[in-house]
């Protein structure tokens, strides 16, 4: 509550801490580094998945892509053999329109949140997805039916009602900052910060979490479970960073956020990428992005070569 009474920061204070504002992010990084023609690669998750698959980057297995209302009749057959699955809009954002089915008997479907839906309910949901309700510009959309990710044990005590995701921001294909987003009861199992999910920073070099933030305020414990969110070591961290760099190169986007989930069996799989990643990652890291981005801008092109990125990542992780 004390932070509610706290006075707003002055622009000079924010500048000194290297905090990146949304205008500067757009004008200096997103607009110059991300050609508009490459946006479909991240806005359309079907396309993102195809790019990942062609590069051998792990993604959740696609069971089916439903493209038109006529396909709905086959929905029951499509999922007959799948005990668990996820339905998501190909052009969705911020986790909207995603339904996670934890079990079903072809007639009744139980979501991960415990709600029960009939087959007709499921078909109606998919048809709203197809009609573009969740897509960015309201255009016609596709529904992806894919493998449900089983939460990795490392997050057992710090995620409530959903799967945490790990966001890495890359600039010129070099990881510059990372965080893990932990769902809470308030966020209704979604890993969305503005809905009340918790974010913890991840040390770029070691993959260990530190600090934490909930609704732009610093915290150190999960608000629902009370478990500390500090010092969790994310397994397969190097593999994860490598996949992020591969994807950033494949997407040809200079400033991109890549979202992972950790599967208990496979390790890091890519959920989606974002051409305009949010700025809350700075609050979670208690560190501005500006200095790190400026540092990369001063590097000669050869210093950004894949072989030398480990040095850069180590240097960046030390920057405050």
């Amino acid at each position: 509550m004390t932070s509610l009474l706290k006075m707003p920061a002055s622009p000079a204070e924010l500048r000194a801490r290297g905090v990146l504002g949304i205008n500067r992010r757009n004008a200096d990084f997103v607009l110059p580094a991300n050609p508009r023609s490459h946006y479909p690669r991240v806005d359309d998750k079907v396309l993102t998945k195809r790019i990942c698959e062609s590069r051998g980057i792990p993604v959740p297995e696609t069971f089916a892509v439903i493209e038109c209302q006529g396909d709905l009749r086959r929905f029951s057959d499509l999922v007959r053999e799948r005990a668990q699955f996820v339905i998501k809009p190909a052009h969705g954002s911020e986790g909207r329109g995603i339904v996670v089915v934890a079990e079903h008997d072809h007639e009744t479907f139980r979501t991960s949140g415990g709600e029960l839906h009939s087959l007709a309910d499921m078909c109606y949901h998919i048809s709203t997805v197809l009609s573009g309700l969740y897509s960015l510009a309201g255009q016609h959309d596709q529904a992806i039916v894919e493998q449900r990710i089983v939460r990795h044990a490392v997050f057992e005590r710090v995620a409530v009602g959903g799967t945490p995701d790990i966001r890495v921001i890359l600039y010129r294909c070099v990881p510059v900052m990372a965080m893990v987003r932990l769902p809470t009861r308030e966020s209704r199992g979604r890993a969305n910060l503005h809905q009340g999910a918790v974010a913890a920073a991840v040390n770029l070099r070691t993959g260990e979490t530190f600090g934490g933030v909930c609704k732009d305020h610093f915290i150190t414990e999960h608000p629902d479970t009370g478990a500390t969110i500090d010092g969790l070591r994310i397994p397969f961290w190097d593999k994860l960073l490598e996949a992020a760099q591969d994807l950033a190169a494949a997407l040809e986007l200079g400033y991109v956020g890549v979202d992972f989930v950790l599967d208990a069996a496979v390790g890091p799989v890519i959920l989606e990428a974002n051409a305009r990643p949010g700025l809350a990652i700075q609050v979670a890291n208690r560190c501005g992005l500006q200095h790190r981005l400026d540092f990369l801008d001063t590097q000669p092109p050869e210093a950004l070569a894949p072989a030398r990125r480990a040095e850069l990542v180590a240097a960046l992780s030390e920057m405050k």
Binding site: T2, R24, P32, G211, V283
Partner: protein, 528 residues
């Protein structure tokens, strides 16, 4: 040159261009030369009246364009009046109707800048070359001042006819009769046709009416004209004269000064039915004062002959009917400017980018109290019905269309309801952007379902706040007038928007959002 360096240059060039354009136009206003025999005048109506209630109507007749006269700029200023939909040019008069919003004293000033030419050089918009049966009947009919059927009129006509065998010009004889036999009377001389003919004396109006009555009794269409003689005067009286249809066109006759078939070039026609130039219904104490001032050579004048491209920029030459709407359209970019300011400098979030501007625009036409009442009612009823609709599991487009239909019905019944409680709003008062309202209802509903009700309310509050600011800008009459005079001033708007588009500083809300980055207090845990 990269974007950052180019931006100030582009903005600077725009500002310079705008300044040069405005400067040139102000300069040319004082430099244009007129051809000999041409002159510019400013006719001003100053009107005052009182009303007991809202809804009184004021009608102003506007000068006609004729081959010798053209209105090149027209400006109407009023405080508490609401322009009705302006009437299209009619046969009898071009009129502006205004309705009072409240009871009390009302003021209006109308200014018409007129270009007169001794030689008929303009092409008149409405040169009549035929007469419909309906108009013919209208111009043969008698009325209170023009007693076509009265004995005095018919007898006088008979006697003049007897003196004029067929090859002679009867209309000329009738005119000579009114000019010479009916003499100018004292103050209380008859002002009607029968009276003037009987007493052989009449007021200028009486003598003109006598001629019309005689012509009409002879089955020759004739009409009363009202207008002004344009000459420098602090206080100008409207003049009456007559036009007679000769089978091909209307010919003017002026019995007071004896002008036949040709009027001096400075006779300015304003009404073609003999009615008053300024009329008020449901009001009292009407005082209208007319004055004429000679203008130095000005813009628009020399342009009326040679259609120069520069004339395109001068919007004041357009018909008065367009002024109101055009100035409002010209204010719209300022609404965009306000929106851009709030979004990129302040960081207020709204439903849709231009939703606030469009809502504000609709409120400009409406009375804001009625507007807010209807807006709030439609929004809440829309949200309730939207949540019921959700249970029917409809596809998106049909569902949105259902909401749109409900919004339309709701607005219509709001009008009916307001009328029922004797608060009849103008039709424009409820000209709310229905599609925008529908989308706002849909977005509000989805946001409250998917995020949270407080977040949806926050977006709604942002939308309303930006809409209020846009409304204040759109209501800013002085800005509208300046932009109407100098539309190129929007080059400055573009320059400001371009500079704003390159603003990379923090948004005001970010200072709050990132307030935890302030130098560390003791409560903050240290960073590892």
């Amino acid at each position: 040159m990269n974007a950052r360096k180019a931006t100030p240059w582009v903005a600077g060039i725009l500002v310079m261009t705008g300044m040069v354009c405005i400067g040139l136009r102000i300069r040319t206003q004082h430099e244009l030369q007129l051809a000999s025999g041409e002159s510019l005048w400013r006719l001003t109506y100053a009107v005052k009246f009182q009303t007991e209630q809202a809804g009184a109507r004021l009608s102003l007749a506007i000068p006609f364009d004729t081959p010798r006269c053209r209105v090149f700029r027209q400006v109407v200023r009023y405080s508490d009046l609401q322009p009705e939909r302006l009437r299209a040019p009619l046969l009898e008069a071009r009129e502006i109707d205004l309705v009072t919003r409240h009871a009390g004293d009302q003021n209006l000033t109308a200014r018409f800048d007129i270009h007169l030419s001794r030689r008929a050089r303009f092409s008149a918009y409405d040169s009549e070359t035929s007469l419909t049966a309906q108009a013919r009947a209208e111009y043969l009919r008698g009325d209170k001042g023009i007693q076509v059927e009265s004995a005095a009129v018919t007898e006088t006509l008979q006697s003049i006819r007897r003196e004029t065998p067929p090859p002679d010009d009867l209309v000329k004889r009738l005119f000579e009769y009114c000019h010479t036999q009916i003499v100018a009377g004292e103050e209380n001389a008859p002002a009607d046709a029968a009276g003037a003919i009987k007493k052989k004396t009449g007021s200028p109006l009486g003598r003109a009416r006598a001629l019309v009555a005689l012509c009409r009794a002879n089955k020759t269409p004739a009409r009363m004209m009202t207008g002004f003689v344009v000459e420098e005067s602090e206080s100008l009286e409207p003049r009456a004269w007559v036009e007679v249809w000769n089978g091909r066109r209307w010919e003017p006759f002026e019995p007071v000064n004896g002008y036949m078939r040709e009027l001096p070039y400075n006779y300015l026609a304003v009404r073609r039915d003999g009615g008053d130039i300024v009329r008020v219904t449901r009001g009292s104490g009407l005082e209208s004062h007319f004055s004429v001032l000679r203008l130095p050579s000005g813009p628009g004048a020399a342009r009326s002959k040679h259609r120069s491209l520069l004339g395109l920029v001068d919007l004041t030459r357009l018909p008065l009917e367009m002024h109101e709407v055009l100035s409002l359209i010209l204010l719209l970019p300022l609404g965009g400017l306000v929106t851009a300011f709030f979004r990129t400098m302040v960081g207020v979030r709204t439903f849709g980018t231009f939703t606030p501007t469009l809502i504000a625009l609709s409120f400009v036409f409406a009375d804001w109290r009625t507007g807010i009442f209807v807006f709030a009612l439609v929004l809440s009823l829309g949200l309730v019905s939207r949540s019921f609709l959700d249970r029917l599991k409809l596809l998106m487009v049909p569902r949105l269309s259902v909401v749109l239909t409900l919004v339309v019905l709701c607005i219509i019944f709001c009008v009916s309801l307001l009328d029922y409680v004797h608060l009849t709003p103008g039709a424009q008062a409820v000209l709310l952007p229905m599609v925008i309202l529908t989308m706002t209802i849909e977005r509000f509903y989805l946001t409250s379902e998917e995020d949270s009700v407080p977040f949806a309310l926050q977006l709604l509050a942002g939308t309303v706040a930006v809409a209020v600011c846009c409304y204040l800008v759109l209501r800013w009459a002085a800005a509208g007038r300046i932009l109407f005079m100098f539309p190129e001033a929007h080059l400055f708007t573009i320059a400001v928007l371009i500079l704003m588009g390159r603003y990379t500083g923090y948004r005001l809300t970010e200072l709050w959002r990132f307030r935890d980055f302030k130098p560390r207090g003791p409560s903050e845990p240290p960073r590892p």
